[in-house]
């Protein structure tokens, strides 16, 4: 149990009479790269939304590092250590690159000061602000974004915006990082680069990563284990090669 980072037990949600996701049981080991795949509409993003508190599961529950997080608010869950990116990029578009990261650093205890520090510009204010900037630069550096730091997020290219979104999620200091189609819209070069970045941050920041992706080359090159969803239920589960070669999975994807 101790090395289990994320566990979901019979996680499910219904919207009215529609059972969008049912009985999802994930067991993600610490430091694992875990894939969540399935055809469009299978409920993958819905699972992410439940894990981050955007939706409240109607059945089942989930644990992060042994602690039950079901029912907690979105920002609480983030503080407990789950961060995510979005399928459709949702950066703070009119803020600079570094400011996007600074917002995400905002709630960590080491970067706190009180309103008086802010008003009077006490040494603590400067100390915290300087350390925050250093930390933000360190994270941006991992993604090769340091030189872009003063540009507005909306002026970045698509692939760069995707990288910034991961950087921003990382800045909240998560244990578990959820990536929703990180390689969507990327060219093969960018995808290859992204693969090495994901591996790199896993090692460097001691992360566990759960990712949704349609690019099977990306999934099989990166993930240790996968769960395949179809129509909201689990179709297959296991090591990547095994699950992706399951005849039912191939049928669900290709049809026939």
């Amino acid at each position: 149990m101790a090395d289990l980072m994320l566990e979901t037990k019979n996680l499910g949600i219904s919207f009215g009479g529609l059972k969008a996701v049912q009985d999802v049981n994930l067991k993600v080991q610490k430091n694992e790269l875990y894939g969540l795949v399935g055809p469009n509409g299978a409920g993958k993003t819905t699972v992410f939304n439940m894990l981050t508190g955007v939706y409240q599961p109607t059945t089942g529950t989930f644990y992060l590092d042994g602690e039950e997080l079901k029912g907690k608010s979105q920002e609480k869950i983030n503080h407990k250590g789950i961060a995510r990116t979005f399928q459709n990029i949702r950066l703070f578009n009119n803020m600079s690159v570094i400011r996007n990261v600074l917002v995400a650093l905002h709630n960590q205890p080491e970067f706190k000061y009180n309103p008086f520090d802010a008003m009077l510009h006490t040494p603590r204010y400067y100390d915290v602000e300087v350390r925050m900037r250093d930390k933000a630069k360190e994270i941006l550096d991992v993604f090769g974004l340091v030189d872009e730091r003063n540009n507005l997020a909306c002026n970045l290219s698509y692939g760069t915006q995707r990288r910034l979104e991961i950087a921003r999620a990382l800045a909240t200091n998560p244990k578990l990082l959820l990536l929703d189609e990180p390689a969507a819209g990327m060219n093969p070069n960018e995808t290859a680069e992204l693969m090495s970045i994901v591996k790199g941050i896993r090692d460097r920041f001691d992360l566990t990563v759960l990712l949704i992706e349609h690019d099977m080359k990306f999934v099989s090159g990166l993930c240790d284990e996968v769960t395949v969803l179809n129509f909201g239920t689990t179709l297959a589960q296991g090591t990547t090669a095994e699950a992706l070669n399951n005849p039912e999975v191939i049928r669900a994807y290709i049809g026939g």
Partner: protein, 287 residues
Amino acid sequence: MSTIMDGLSLGAIYALIALGYTMVYGIAKMLNFAHGDIIMVGAYAILTSLQLTGNPYLAVVVSIVVCTASGVIIERLAYKPLRGASPLAVLITAIGVSFFLQAVAQLIYGSKSQSISLPDFGKVAIGDVKINVSTILTLVIGGVIMTALTLFVKKTRTGRAMQAVSEDKGAALLMGVNVNRIIMVTFAIGSMLAAFASLFYLMQIPSITPTLGSMPGIKAFTAAVIGGIGSIPGAMLGGVLLGLIEKICLSIPKIAPYTTSIEFSLLIVILLVKPIGLLGKKIREKV
């Protein structure tokens, strides 16, 4: 010269109120029509504590505390339960809160106007024109507050979080920003600015009625829209512009009776020419 100074100081009052409208709109995406009545609350707070203690400086502090607290309480009780409700429901609620505050004030203080005597700071002569010290005070303190606010939003953690919430509430939540707290802080700051506005307003017009907040409230809202609602520099610009126009119109006898209609016509013209307001954020539709 003295018209310009008067205009600027009236403008500073409008700007302070407009900031409350624009910040709440930018962050909670709602029009808080009860904001004008916070000025009235602040005015009665000054009146009561002045009657009780006789100390004008203490009265100012009390009014700031009362305004800030009532802003936060109103948000808590009236608006927070409606988070995620349709904007129309929130708007109606805000108008309801406005009537509620006016009715409560009428119950406590009656509907007759009450006069208040704040310390008179006299006049100073600049060149050969005499200017009220209170006008200069309004300008200076108003300027300081607005500069401080701009720095606060630009340079501090909470300011950054506010900007993030105003850009994308959902994403901010998932980045660990406590959106409810940020909205509360926004209401607190807005109401605190309204307390200053009510003080300056009373220095110019020292009489209080339960509907005292309506007109400056609506004019400040106009100023916020002219400047581009949601934009902090826009609210300041709009406020100062409106204050100047009002005082200049009032100083020309032939135009004076039409002052208010000129101000609101300006709003219509600006909305026709530049619907997002002078400094409003452009919304580009991505295709």
